[in-house]
Amino acid sequence: MQAYLVRRLLESALILIGITLVTFILLYLVPADPARQIAGRSATAETVQNIRDQLGLNDPFFVQYWRYLTSLLQGDMGRSYLQRAEVSELIAARLPASLLLMVAAIVTELAFGLTIGIVAALRRNRPADHGLMIFSFVSISAPQFVIGILLLYVFAVKLNWFPIGGYGTFAHVVLPAVTLGFLGAGWYSRMMRSSMIDVLGQDFVRTAQAKGLGKARIILRHVIPNAILPIIAMIGIDIGLFMSGIVVVESVFGWPGIGQLAWQAIQRIDIPVIMGVTIVSATAIVLGNLLADFVAPLIDPRIKTK
């Protein structure tokens, strides 16, 4: 087990380095010149060249990449071209807020998604199931911007139960978490439902019923734990889903996370920030998958780790 863990960690490190290379290549290929963005529109060609020299942008690709990688491994992510502040500081200031939001959203998703999925599976083909199915599809198809504004309008403005966006207390987390989690709840509910239906149809369930075990007991102690397996696999994907939703949700609710940092950096080709955010999110995804892979055998002992 330990050897497996070590191997996985090494592989993860390699993947992350691979990501840095890929991202760096992509940024290199973007035709827009970051020095132009920094120099502003009134600058002369000499000023732009000078900025390129100072930032090392005229060096060959591998020189630039090597320089970045070696600094990165020493913990230095460079300075933002546009904000001039250290990238690690910029990210560190905002990451906790995004992480909090992500955890809150996952909790919301699981709570809603699993409940709905279980109910739909148990009431299969009855009106409740149909209603919930439509709900799932709507939650996946609805744009998060719209959901966010709707929730704000109803619950924050009209009912006054929550503040209109912002950050700081538990009340501030609820609406953004629900908005982000709405999408995932749809996915989880469908996955849980179909997974439950599969497990319910398996022999050991019939055997348990024949043995006279109570329905509730069968469901709680045998069906759900088995059905939950694919959900565990999905949590790793969740983090990836968040990266896209986070920009919109954070701006609608004024949530001080890395979403806006990332978006503005992409618009203005702030290469150090883009690299930093990509690395952080890639790390989160890889770690999430790693975690999921370790939890899976705990749920289903038959899965061998090699």
Partner: protein
Amino acid sequence: MMRILLASVAGLAVSAHAATAEVDQNAPVGGDMIVTYKDDVATLDPAIGYDWQNWSMIKSLFDGLMGYEPGTTILRNELAADYTISEDGLTHTFTLKDGITFHNGRAIVADDVKYSIDRVTNPTTRSPGAGFFGMIDGFDSWNAGEGDGLSGVTVIDEKTVQITLNRPDATFSHVMALNFASIVPKEAVEASGEDFGREPVGSGAFKLAEWSPGQRVVFERFDGYHREGVPKLDQVTFEIGLEPTVALLRLQQGQADVPGDGIPPAQFLQVMGDPAQAANVVEGGQLHTGYITLNTQMAPFDNVDVRKAVNMAINKDRIVKIINGRAVPANQPLPPTMPGYADDYEGYAYDPTAAMEMLAAAGFPDGFTTELFVMNVDPNPRIAQAIQQDLKEIGITAELRSLAQANVIAAGGEADQAPMIWSGGMAWIADFPDPSNFYGPILGCAGAVQGGWNWAWYCNADLDAKAAEADAMTGADKADARIEAWKEIYLAVMEDAPWVPIFNEQRFTLTSGRVAGDPSLFVDPVHIPVNYDYIYSKEAE
């Protein structure tokens, strides 16, 4: 960003709305205000900040030698008590006021002025505003990294600074009023190093009290400010990272006072249709023009008749209607509030039939296919689609390329990539209220280079020469003649039709009613969007 949104910087001469600012010097002192912004504040370093949000914030934190009367574009002395210009217009001497200090308590001296201007033009600072100081003696060598300062800036004594120019330049006083010319304390800059933008120390009416990254920035009154009774407010809080639609919701619930990004287009009609809210809306002009650039180096736009035909094909009134009347149609490069604007110029009237005829005469009876580049942020793709339809009417099939801003700018900077670009979102806004600011980078030969901003790749050496002449006309006695000269230049540009001017955006600001002041303070041409220093609170005693 300056170019993304609306900066109002009005003319050197007094313009109609600018003259009527009645700032109440006896307004009560106290209270606070909340302003919302969507984008993050990148930096508060005056040498670097060049965005929509931080431009005005820096104005409140810092002062330069020159400034403007609040709510207007009339220059006045700021930190300078006295300002004399030599006969030949090349030597400018500034004497500092008494009793001026930085936020850290130290008195401001002439050395600080030299330090600040040297810093902005220092190549290692990588300031986007360095180019504005090109008229100062020694700029070229210092900006290339030689020497240890601008030879043209000399300290005469503790309170006097002399700046020598390498050419007479009528825009110099405006440059001294730019954020980039703000005075900064050397010890604070050296202590913070590259983080000075996070820990700004200036001499403006407000000082920085708190900065939570991505959340809020708080300014509080600087008691040692050199103007009595300024600022009016005790505190200004900037809430950052808020979607404009949500900022409006907060304002309507009394949790914000001014939406820094203006009324979102999606809610504009709603707000204007509600009498209670409409009463709190202030409208103001801007020094902004939105235009289509026609690449004179790419066929068929190398043919002036084709360009004129395109000018006649666009229905500008319809486009203004599509953006709910938030602009006025334009027929020339300069906006109406800029001196040099030709009131009586007719321009190319909307006439699709005549356009088709001209196109046929130019050799394109069946029209042609081309591309129109546009920035992908609303409402620009919509405007581009409206333009597309107008072009179709005269036989031109324009395929849209709706891209991220940086990609459009990159395409414009190449001679052979973008035949047409709708400038919306990147449209030119004057850095200071002077007609010359609309020429150099976007219509002059110097801008028609790779990576340049002259996306029409228009280069008229004659006009370049005339522009240089016009800027050499320094002195108050030549001011009118200079404006006339510029007017002629822009009319001549229209003869060549490298652009299709479409509209000039108006700015609409909404207030909560908790804060008050002369309307022009809320659409301040220089201190955008509102002049934090002079607005007062109705809740103060």
